[in-house]
Amino acid sequence: MFTIETGSGFWNPIIWVAAMVIAFLVTYILRSFGNKSYKKNTEQTKVFLSGNPEYQKEKMHVKADNLYWGFTESLKGFYSLLKKVHTGNTGDYILWFVIILAIFFIVEVI
């Protein structure tokens, strides 16, 4: 009942949700044994910055594009090639599109 089947695989979301609810109850009960108190509005709730002072919130912001640094740095040879091709000229992009279509066409004919 309610099992989604693809022929290669299957999934029953109802069963998964039921299992998640039970696991959540177990986790919630387990967590409730822990100490829930802390001292609000004290030094304790300040962000840990290895002893450095905290500047304005806006200045402490970590840019989202840092996420891509690992990729751009490790594959910089590939990205430098892509940057050269990425001219911003629509005519160039249409030319690339036509070239790729031509390659597909030739491969199909062969």
Partner: protein, 344 residues
Amino acid sequence: MDMLELSEIALRVIIGTLCVAAFGIIFGLLYKGIDRKLSAHMQGRIGPPIIQPFRDVRKLFTKENVVPENAIPWIFNLVPMVGLVATISILIYLPIGGFPPIISWAGDLILILYLLLIPSLALVIGGFSSGSPYAIVGAQREMATMIAYEFPLAIVIITFAWKLGYKLNIANTFSLATIVGAPVWNNITGPLGFIGFAILLLVLVIVTPAELSKIPFDAPEAETEIAGGLLVEYSGRNLAMFYLTDGVKTVVMASIIVVLFFPYNISNMLGLESYPAYTVDILFYLLKVFLVILFSVTLIRVAIARLKIDQIVYTYWIPLTLMSLIGLILVMWDGTITSLLGLT
């Protein structure tokens, strides 16, 4: 479906989830203790006692549960539980201790791959919600690591599906019951298939420490550099939840490798039946999980220093992706040498 069948399923899900939760947490912490003890001995230290992780959790429960002033409190408190819940839910789809999965018909390997993402995403969301620059840097690194290791991991899974579905013509190729019923090593016809699956095993062993944020792939936490990264602001019972998630996920990842590559029981070979057979199979399963953890977590983290995030991405996207593709091609060519030589 009648009421009797429905109530049987409900009972199975309730009791099964409770049992796997207890199993995952207890053995997760136990294996964590063994891992710490062994790695300490490998580094010439005495190390903590094996039960130290249990003491750590007990101590964390007594500590204050600080919510930083920059945090979004409800997300900050919720995600540690979400991570543990998702990890426990994976265990109900996995064959544990030589027994079939509790609900083998309700989920396959693709579902497990998706569920494996949830604990990592919980860490990422928890990091972002902390409002700490260290945690945000850690969360960004965790996201980059996730994107990096998913590619070779997906190729390993696809190879299994191709082998079972296309080559052996078996239905439900992503089903764990199907995979356990047709062990890969029994279905290879030549040396290429053996080498191919050995390469894929190696790839999965190297993916495991990244899934678990262990050295050398622990850049998202990197205590000496970003003071714990995503977990820097977590303390008390919230940190205990992430600690437990790590333990359970270690059992999950090791169990996946056992299921895919070593789904064998020894009770048949020993001619055992009933309870002695169950006992021997459970012990054998625990031994297999231990060996997988030893090779994929303990030995690697003792032998190699932490990689930078660009090195992690490079490792997974270039050498490991190429290795997994070579493994896939060798499995596809399995049997060609023997058929060329006329041995089949």
